[in-house]
């Protein structure tokens, strides 16, 4: 049996875990290593919110449809609500809490505020993580492309135009356009 070394060194890769057993799992979240004991049925979203108390990542639909739970998993944007936490042992995760530095907003967060890119704010952590993932993918060049590539993030308040403006401003390096 092989042993994981990146995540939790106690994790036995092929072991059969009973339904009522908890499984050791480790990941790096926003630069800090966490080790948890979780049942297999725990989603990554619930692990973040309920076990690490990182409640910035939101639960909207819990079915992969709204994008409120978007986090960056090894740099790629994913829906944390449709991922079982134990399947991501060893992963590197960035949530909204890891985006600002201690006393300074990330410039994309600042652009969201400047453009009033939200109303209730519930979708915002997912929008910001998703936008950062999109910009790393390096594909979004026009407002139209941004709208398409952000289609996994719904906003019930309908702040879409301002969200696109905020992303464009950040992408183009700052000042209001």
């Amino acid at each position: 049996m092989s042993q994981h070394t990146i995540g939790n060194s106690n994790y036995n890769s092929q072991q059969l875990y009973d339904a009522d057993e908890t499984i050791p799992v480790g990941f790096t979240v926003n630069g800090t290593h966490h080790t948890l004991q979780l049942t297999a049925a725990t989603t990554l979203l619930d692990a973040l919110r309920e076990y690490m108390h990182l409640t910035g990542t939101k639960k909207g639909c819990d079915h992969g449809q709204c994008g409120a739970c978007t986090v960056l998993l090894n740099g790629k944007r994913v829906n944390a609500c449709l991922i079982l936490a134990v399947t991501k042992d060893g992963a590197d995760i960035t949530t909204i809490e890891g985006i600002a530095t201690a006393d300074m907003l990330h410039p994309l967060q600042a652009a969201f505020i400047e453009h009033d890119a939200f109303q209730c704010g519930y979708c915002t952590p997912g929008q910001i993580c998703s936008a950062l993932g999109m910009l790393q993918e390096g594909r979004a060049n026009t407002a139209e492309e941004i709208r398409e590539l952000m289609s996994g993030n719904l906003c019930r308040c309908g702040a879409y135009t301002n969200i696109v403006d905020a992303i464009l401003q950040y992408k183009n390096g700052g000042g209001r356009d």
Binding site: Y17, A19, G64
Partner: protein, 277 residues
């Protein structure tokens, strides 16, 4: 929403996964983007999940023995990015880039989609039009199932208990082959309310497959015959549209009634035929 509890095992090889598919209601977990919603709604209450997403031999794309081979656990993201697919099966990369949204494409796998056999999935029509074989493995070894024999009904496939999909094998298209896929997307999920895939060989032999139209995706023999070997002029395309989706039981739901779906099938067939004309 919380799924019922289940045992859990992670497999590192295909044989480990097969060994883990013991008796009882054991389910394979790949990308989880169909299975997790089903677990949360308690449509499925498996006793055990076997995670295959980390099995290296199930990932990646290669060309061998005149076939393009896509590992079952390859994500849509990796299919869209792949150069072999871009150059030889451009309708795969093009359609995969329009499945759901980026988050779904980063995690969903082709094997998961085929095993799930959603009546509105995109991959089902694509593998049918591409003349693919679905490679599966169980305790008695490997076998190949033709895509045309794989989809047997609503969410049903020819996969037998204890078998897992290992790869999708597509004959490398001859130089000059043209392909296209168009769908009328459900506006929120982007699932195909109706989708039509076409692969036209240099000799005019044409494969036409529909998804979203009936309980399972299917090849439309009557439409194929209407265009086989003929130049794709307006009259031929019209004749194919008249022949299409006849004699099949058409899905009807609150998104689209049967007569509307049938109409859409003909419209989308015309679109893809014009695209390969």
């Amino acid at each position: 929403m919380i799924p019922t509890a289940f045992d859990y095992q992670k497999a590192s090889t295909v044989d480990e996964a097969i060994a883990a598919l013991t008796d009882g209601d054991v389910k394979i977990l790949a990308g989880g983007h169909s299975l997790l919603p089903a677990l949360k709604l308690r449509l499925n209450q498996p006793s055990k999940l076997v995670n295959i997403a980390g099995i290296e031999e199930l990932k990646g794309i290669k060309e061998e023995d005149g076939e393009i081979v896509i590992g079952a656990a390859t994500t849509y993201h990796d299919i869209v990015k792949n150069d072999i697919i871009k150059s030889k099966l451009s309708f795969f990369s093009d359609s995969a880039s329009r499945i759901g949204d980026v988050q779904v494409r980063n995690h969903g796998t082709i094997g998961g989609s085929l095993a799930h056999a959603d009546p509105s999935a995109d991959w089902t029509a694509l593998v049918l039009a591409a003349d693919a074989a679905i490679e599966v493995k169980g305790k008695n070894g490997k076998r190949r199932i033709k895509a045309t024999e794989f989809f047997t009904g609503l969410f049903s496939t020819a996969l037998e208990e204890g078998e897992i999909i290992t790869a999708v094998r597509i004959p490398s298209p001859a130089e000059g082959t043209k392909t296209a896929y168009q769908k009328f997307p459900q506006p929120a999920s982007r699932f195909a309310m109706v989708g039509c895939a076409v692969l036209r060989k240099p000799d005019g032999v044409t494969n036409i497959a529909f998804t979203g139209v009936s309980d399972n995706a299917f090849r439309d023999a009557a439409a194929e015959q209407a265009v086989a070997g003929k130049p794709l002029d307006d009259a031929t395309i019209e004749a194919a549209a008249n022949a299409a989706a006849e004699g099949v039981s058409i899905l009807s739901d609150h998104y689209a009634a049967a007569d509307y779906r049938k109409h859409l099938a003909k419209v989308y067939l015309k679109k893809v035929l014009h695209a390969v004309a």
